[in-house]
Structures are given as structure tokens and as C-alpha cells.
Symmetry: C2
Subunit: 260 residues, 2 copies
């Protein structure tokens, strides 16, 4: 134990992408393979089960225990262990990266923390829907567990008013059903009822579903815990069952943009 | 040629991520390996040179010829060929996915189009900076080549006013130097001069640079064509040289959020 305490541990916060094995980056895979301890929400550990070795210690836990899990992962890295904390999507977008730093600050941790980015829900859902995020966009979580609802409304108003393509995370859960209704109302104050809306659930998983609808009709569709909702801007159109936001507001082919 | 015309071609629009080989997903790699023709901006083809085979036809071109390149890639897929169109980052975020669909619509193309998502600049830059995107954020391109500047200003105002973490794409080029100055002014109308700002250039490439500064001082730093600028929200803080946006506006550890 003395040797471990003296060693420099590492906590890799690993994004495994939407769930499909072929969207896990080699860097994420290596971090998982090299870890002595792999921590994560059970669903994510199941998604990477084929990468885990019997000798690796697993720290899984049920939903709502994320803070304890991060705390334990950090404490083990602090003791000199090599720990991989698994996140669905990208750890940097509404996931664990921030919590890890918040807890490291709280506990005065000095272990090495590495964030390995992944393909987030917004990237994966956009690809399934076509090309909805080709112009300026805003991501808003409708969960008011840790954010006051008036601030969420203010952001929805701002996104609607300024014609941002809008990605809604956590649109609805068993307990929270009114937020998506209100979000749609706010959008309708600034955007046509015919605005294309994409709803993707379980992107990259066996239960994946992709639905194209409109702002008008979106509440008729199934929206749940695993759904991400993408609302087009005033120029978004449907082509061959895909949701496409054009790149420019100017004449389409007369001008040529920077490559970025 | 008759056989080719009868076959169903495919155009894979492939995101290779920020540039590091170990952030290219297996799905992207396979699409590149299986393609008969690989098209892309020269810089991106150089980044994946080790994946290319001598018998693969390459369609590269210099900057500013992206529309012709997409058109040719689409025409070849229409003739039954297997074509991979390479994009840096994620094809779905300010990249080629939308242009491909716009051109397919224009030409009445019926070939199969597949978007393979990648780790976008915003994901990669966030990971390098720490955890800046842990709460609602907006992405705004400062390029006014295809978007009227008043609309860009309106979006910056909206993002600033509603306390969105804000990611600025295309902040500056040789010709465009005033937009980033104005963007900072707009942000300062709503946010403290001490707000953390991250500037990442060449993320994942040999010339990568990561700089942490503040809204006040950001213009003293090098910002160029390959830079992405991330402006924190009112809660973003610096910890151990990392930029961290806390998850919640409520009491930090009293509440526990949904896992998403």
C-alpha cells in the first residue's frame, strides 16, 4: 500500500460514444484496457463488457449514485491506482467530467485527471437524422433538478428568438412531463409549426428509434428518458426523410465558405 | 459503365475527429478502408495517409473548392461507386454533411448517403480545457461569409444574455479580424471580465495549443483560423489550470441529477 500511495494515479474519464462498439475510439479502448479499476453506471459497463478483463475491478452502481461513484474513483486514483470512469457519449457534455473536477477541488485531490472525448448524443443523433446541426445551435437540458426552471425558460426563449437549431437533452422523465410541453410552446412563439423536429431515442443501441416530425406534431411522438430532441431553425428542411439545415443564409451556391 | 450505373453507390461522409489517429472511430476507419474513392480537403487526407491504399483513387483539392469536391463525390456515388468524403471533426457540425444533402437535392441524386459522426472540435477542445461544456451551451460561427452579421450578433446577444457557455467557431481569419472583437464586447455586456475563456488551436494535431485566459484579456492571445474559443458561463471557474463549469445552479451536493 505504501508503494501505491507514493505512485501517481490516474483517473481517465472515458467517453464511449453512443453505445455502438465501432464508435468507441482507440484511445478510449486503450484507457479501458489499461485500467486496474473500471467504474461506471451499469448500463455503460454492459455496453463495453467485451473490453473488460476478469482481473479488472468493477465499480458499478445504480442510477442516482453518480456522486459516490466519482468520489470513489477519485479516491482510488489518489491512492496511485489507474482508474477508468466510463461515460456514455462524451464525458464533457452533460456528463461526468465536470463532477470529477468539482469533487477533486472539494477533496484537494492531486491525481492526474484525463478527459477522453467521445461522440456525444448530439453528434450521434445529428448523424442519424441527416444534417440538422450545420448552423449555429444551442444545447439545453430540460432537467430542473439542478437548474432553476426560470433560467431554463430564459435559455429556450433566447434560443428560439435567435433562430438557433436547438438540442433538448433530458426532455422528459417519468416525473418530469411538463417541461417539453412548455419548451414547444416557447419555440412556437418564434418558429413555424411546420419546423422539422427530430426525436432520437437510444441512439446506437439495440432499441434505437429515429423519428422525424414537426414542432406542431412533436408531442404525439414517444419521448422518454433516453430521447434527444432536435428542433430545426427557420431554414431547416426535410429531404429524402432526412433533416437538413442549410449552411448559409446567403445565396446558396454563389458564395463559398471557409473550410473548418 | 452500365454495370456501375445500375449498382447502388454509397457516399459515406466520414468524421475523422480532431486529427489524432487514436480518436478515429473503427466505423470511420472501415468506411475509409472500404472506399474505392476517398475525397477530402488535402489536410484531412494527410491526417489519414496511413489508412489509404495505393489503389484507392484520391480526390483532393485545395481550400475553397469544397462544393466542386462534394459534387464530384456525389456524382461518383450516383454511378455506383463506393466513395468516402473525409471531414475533420464531425461532418454534422459546421462541416460537409449538410452540403452533401443540399447538393443531392439540387441534382436529384438517389445514391445512399451515410453520415459517420466524429469527435467534433467542440468535444475535443472541451476535453483539452477540462470540463467547460457541463451546462447549456451555444455554438456560434463568427464567419459572415454565408450568414449576415446582424444575425450573428443577435445570436451572440442571446447566448450572452441567457448565460450559455459559448463556443465560437471560425473566430478569425486573415481577412476577418473584427468579429472576435465585437463578440467579446457583446459578452462583456452580460458577463464579468474575469469570466474564464479557453482558446484551443490545432486540437489533436502536432501544432496543438491550449490557452486559458479571461474575457478581459482574451484578445492578447493568439487566435487564428484553426482556433476554437470557449467562453464560460457565470459559474465557470478555473481549477488546477482547467476550465470547469459546474453542473448545477442549485446547492451542489444536496441534489442529485439524472444520469444522462
Amino acid at each position: 500500500m505504501r508503494e501505491q500511495a507514493a505512485a501517481t494515479g490516474i483517473l481517465s474519464v472515458v467517453g464511449i460514444g453512443p453505445g455502438a462498439a465501432d464508435l468507441i475510439s482507440p484511445r478510449a479502448r486503450l484507457a479501458i484496457e489499461q485500467a486496474e479499476i473500471v467504474a461506471g453506471y451499469r448500463t455503460y459497463l454492459e455496453l463495453i463488457a467485451q473490453l473488460l478483463r476478469p482481473e479488472q475491478q468493477q465499480l458499478n452502481s445504480a442510477m442516482m449514485q453518480e456522486i459516490d461513484r466519482c468520489r470513489r474513483a477519485l479516491a482510488l486514483a489518489e491512492q496511485g491506482r489507474n482508474v477508468a470512469l466510463i461515460c456514455g457519449g462524451d464525458p464533457g457534455i452533460y456528463a461526468m467530467a465536470g463532477l470529477v473536477y468539482e469533487l477533486a477541488q472539494e477533496t484537494g485531490s492531486t491525481c492526474r485527471i484525463e478527459i477522453i472525448p467521445g461522440i456525444a448524443a448530439l453528434n450521434a443523433c445529428a448523424a442519424l437524422l441527416g444534417a440538422p446541426l450545420m448552423h449555429d445551435f444551442a444545447a439545453v437540458s430540460l432537467s430542473d433538478l439542478m437548474t432553476p426552471w426560470p433560467l431554463i425558460e430564459k435559455r429556450l426563449q433566447a434560443a428560439a428568438m435567435a433562430d438557433f437549431v436547438t438540442v433538448l437533452y433530458n426532455p422528459k422523465s417519468g416525473r418530469r412531463t411538463g417541461q417539453i410541453v412548455r419548451a414547444r410552446e416557447i419555440m412556437l412563439e418564434h418558429r413555424s409549426p411546420a419546423t422539422p423536429v427530430g426525436i432520437v431515442s437510444g441512439a446506437g443501441r439495440s432499441n434505437e428509434s429515429v423519428c422525424l416530425t414537426t414542432l406542431d406534431k412533436m408531442l404525439d411522438e414517444e419521448i422518454g428518458m433516453q430521447s434527444t430532441v432536435l428542433i430545426g431553425n427557420s431554414r431547416t428542411f426535410i429531404f429524402q426523410n432526412k433533416m437538413v439545415t442549410p449552411r448559409g443564409y446567403a445565396d446558396k451556391y454563389g458564395l463559398r465558405a471557409d473550410e473548418s
